[in-house]
Amino acid sequence: MSILARLALAASIATALSTPLLAAEMTVGFSQIGSESGWRAAETSVTKQQAEERGIDLKFADAQQKQENQIKAIRGFIAQGVDAILVAPVVATGWDDVLTEAKEADIPVVLLDRGVDASEDLYLASVASDQVKEGRVAGQWLVDTVGDKECKVVELQGTVGSTPAINRKKGFEEAIAGHANITIARSQTGDFTRSKGKEVMEGFIKAENGGKDICAMYAHNDDMAVGAIQAMKDAGLKPGSDIYVVSIDAVPDIFAAMVAGEANATVELTPNMAGPAFDVLAAYLKDGTKPEKFIITESKLYTPADNPQGEYDTRKGLGY
């Protein structure tokens, strides 16, 4: 190999190395709630992926569902002098002190997925989904699908009193409000779990003439929908055609159900909250661009037309 070629190779390696090296100057601390659900696990792995893609040095702290652990982690990040902090707050209250400490240390904080009850100037921005919109997108899909046909809907609510359950119910009701042919015949809580979703659906099927009167099932999350699909099959009904199945979250198993023709639509709650957060942080750290305070992620609708097999394959590896 000639000297020139060697030099060219060395130069190319140097440039290849220098790009991530430059970006790696940004160090971000991420205080995650824990791993309470599959979605949370996916959020963690997507955040790590996004950081790697951007060459960000991510310091990850798992709080195991405890606020005091999160506060400790954030104080640790401040002491280490990170460039920015991401927090998925486990509860809404009690953040003022630690956020003030971060502000005094001049470290921008971005909230992921959930909000806090603290003064807005204590954090740079918050990235979250609009749960009312999620419900609205699901409702709109049903309105567009059934047209003028009479349609009795059964609803599987999330945990009674939880914010996603209240908002997803509200959004769905808003979407079907102007359509007298679509009515919610029954609504019960399935606690966001598969087994309760199955049990509640069994009850609905008995109560609605063996399920023959039910036109659609709306579940506040995919897990309950997966349980309800099994209940329909056990009762000799065909989910997806006898009863429309629409739910929210877009976890891998609902795409598997779509592949089997047993689910009709799901609205994505994206686990990629960190991507937009990293974008605003990069812009802010570069030239101090103040981002929008409340960044809303897209609530994308997926139907069997959106390559469910492909979606299943890409999502399966995210730890859902």
């Binding site: 009674v160 309760k196 063996g210 730890g319």
Partner: protein, 334 residues
Amino acid sequence: MRRHPLMRILNAQTVALAGVLLLNWFLFPGFFDIAWQDGRFFGSLIDVLNRGAPVAILAVGMTVVIATKGVDLSVGAVMAVAGAVAATMVVDGYSAFTAIVVALAVGTLCGVWNGLLVALLDIQPIIATLVLMVAGRGLAQLITEGSIVTFSDPHLIFMGTGSFLGFPMAAVIALVLMIAVTLAVRRTAIGLFIEAVGINRSAATFAGIRSRMLLISVYALSGFCAAVAGIIVAADIRGADANNSGLWLELDAILAVVIGGTSLLGGRFSIPMAVIGAIIIQAMNTGILVSGFPPEFNLIVKAGVIILILVLQSPIAQQLLIFSRRNAGKRSTP
């Protein structure tokens, strides 16, 4: 005086069950309808048996533990562990039989651990089993790596959704377990030993009962029952949900035992009545689902009915009942 056989069946629990079922029928006229479909019975009553089975199975083990003046708070977590073990094993290619045997063994081992803490270290049962209640769920999450492990092994799924002579498999397993354990404790002296230890452990030990061995076996039985319930629940949804499987079911099981008339202070116990207690709880749950109440009422309705049942069972209410009967008897005699 020996009571008439019919009178022996007619106790607070069966009356409460009949009451709850009648109330359900009143709220939903189709409640007692049973159809034959795809080689199995189909109807709300069958749902009650099927859905009530996991708590009924827990209640079998819990009754015996409570009769020794103990309590087992870990059953919900042990369910999650057993479900997680069975699911991950079939996913890893083991046969359903091996997976079930190992899951049952792990559940029993969890029970033995509780028993060792209670019997050898003399830790109060509520604290000893609280350890596993917290740790067990973490263990289950560790096994499933925090996600729902789904499987499609037909033999394992059969445990949760299959049917035997038209009845749901879960209910059949619960019935068999109930009869087996009842016979084991009532046809031998074991039941007497359990009551003796429950009433006064030192007295029982001095009388020659090996109370340590007995306590360990009783907690092992509870762990075994929890494992059975855990396998059924996982098989039912074709997946092990470590976060939610068996969550708070320990409380339902204790409630079932109490409704069944077993004293939390140890001693007197009845396994079949505890199973009826579990069915009463499930009849309420199913009734709420078919009645169309908004979900905000679920817990209030449940609590109201439970208070009513417990008041009817309380010694004062029983005395009042006997007193009024006696009075009525006096008046009728000239």
